[in-house]
Amino acid sequence: MRHAGFTWHDGALLAQGLAVSLGLFAGTFLIGLVLGSGAAVVRHFRVPALGTLLHTGLELLRNSPVLVQLFLVFFGVPALIHQPLTPVFAAGLTLSANTAAFVYFIAVAGLDAVGRDQVEAARAFGLSRVQLVRHILGPQALAFAVAPLVGLAVNQLQVTSLVSVIGVVDLTKAGDILNLRTLRPFAVWAMVGVLYFAAAKTLTLLGNRWERRLRAHAAPLGL
């Protein structure tokens, strides 16, 4: 007999799917953050060849759909290397690189927004390039970049839903499974939507708190 009602088991399935989505998001966003900002620093110091190479690669990633990138990695790369990739690996790779591309352009803008005077003061006082990035450029660029980064994070969290297409059992895939069994699409997709919303909202709140801390030195204008 077909079992069409909701059970406790379904809750566990959704919770597991949510955990996969959040884990995939957290991991790939972190990797993207490191790679993207690293590339931005390379670009900022006008490292010849490497800077241009990174810029071109990341621009390609930013200007093509994530789904296409996902298919390219999951179906295209194995055909090339004659070696299958697991869905989770392909998803992790694609989302990390895609996040890096968006982080890169935000970080470049953030670094450019730091005044020349800051670099000159630090250099005149003898700070090395590494010290300059760590103590002067990095923190100030981050204060400029944090708002767009929080926006990006919320977006990338939702983009993880695409990985369900290649068979990763994330929150969307869990919803899909549930929907097929219960045939109650409105209830299922509303529930899945609420879970994504809750995760994104939490992320925004955390981001805003972080932004307030980073911008503590710049009191808001009381206009």
């Binding site: 003898g126 700070l127 100030q140 030195h217």
Partner: protein
């Protein structure tokens, strides 16, 4: 000794410094005068390595600033106070002062912080250590800028139009501090100052020597009293013209002689 030898600096087709030579010996307070665009600030920026030279040579205690390694060592001997303060806005006043001594001179944090507090107290900012630069007035910011430079215990202090962005009252605050500093240094062994300014009367009181830049050329280099003598600097028409156009002296009452 800081030695500038035949320095040439161009921005595109425009020659900003056209064979400038100047030496500043330990204990001297040398003022660079000249109208805007004469190359004064560029000269300071060449000495602390912020501009690459197109000709000539600059050495600080024998270290050639065109060589990156020697420049790094030269920068530990000098400190700059900037026209627009250039404080780090995301750091507290205290951290602004202690950052370079800790990172560049590798001095222990306790010692540097104690010095920073003492310096802040000496410029009347004892209570501002934990404020951010954005919470201070322009005059207070520049006083922090001076503390930041002095915390490097520099042999050479480079001052680039440090009062140009300040109103007369704040200018007086800052000049009072520099006046005290120059008076203390004249005993010898202390900080040597190279001072770009438009405050002619102040320059007259604190400088041991005054040089005059005009369109990228150093046209006069004289001890202060001779610079203002009728048969010295004033004999030069360009300098007479410059001095006659300067505004009356800033309030000097608070500046110790």
């Amino acid at each position: 000794m800081m030695a500038v030898e035949g320095v040439v600096k161009r921005f595109g087709a425009h020659t900003v410094l056209d064979g400038v030579s100047l030496t500043v010996a330990p204990g001297e307070v040398v003022t660079i005068l000249g109208s805007s665009g004469s190359g004064k600030s560029t000269l300071i920026r060449c000495i602390n390595g912020l501009e690459a030279l197109d000709g000539g040579r600059i050495t600080v205690d024998g270290l050639d600033v065109s060589d990156p390694r020697q420049l790094a060592r030269a920068r530990r001997l000098s400190a700059t106070v900037f026209q627009m303060f250039n404080l780090y806005p995301h750091m507290t006043v205290l951290r602004n002062i202690t950052l370079a001594p800790e990172l560049v001179l590798r001095r222990p944090r306790d010692e540097v912080e104690a010095q920073a507090h003492a310096l802040l107290a000496s410029v009347g900012l004892a209570g501002k250590a934990d404020s951010y630069p954005g919470q201070l007035s322009g005059g207070q910011r520049q006083r922090v800028g001076i503390c930041r430079a002095l915390a490097m215990n520099p042999r050479y202090l480079l001052l680039d139009e440090v009062t140009s962005a300040l109103d007369p009252e704040m200018t007086a605050e800052v000049l009072a501090i520099l006046g005290k500093l120059a008076a203390r240094q004249s005993g010898g062994g202390g900080t040597t100052m190279l001072f770009v300014t438009h405050e002619v009367e102040f320059a007259r009181r604190i400088s041991t020597r005054i040089v005059f830049l005009d369109q990228g050329r150093l046209i006069v280099d004289l001890p202060t009293d001779q610079f203002f003598a009728a048969d010295g600097g004033l004999a030069h028409p360009r300098i007479r013209q410059f001095l006659s156009k300067m505004a009356p002296a800033a309030p000097l009452a608070e500046i110790p002689a």
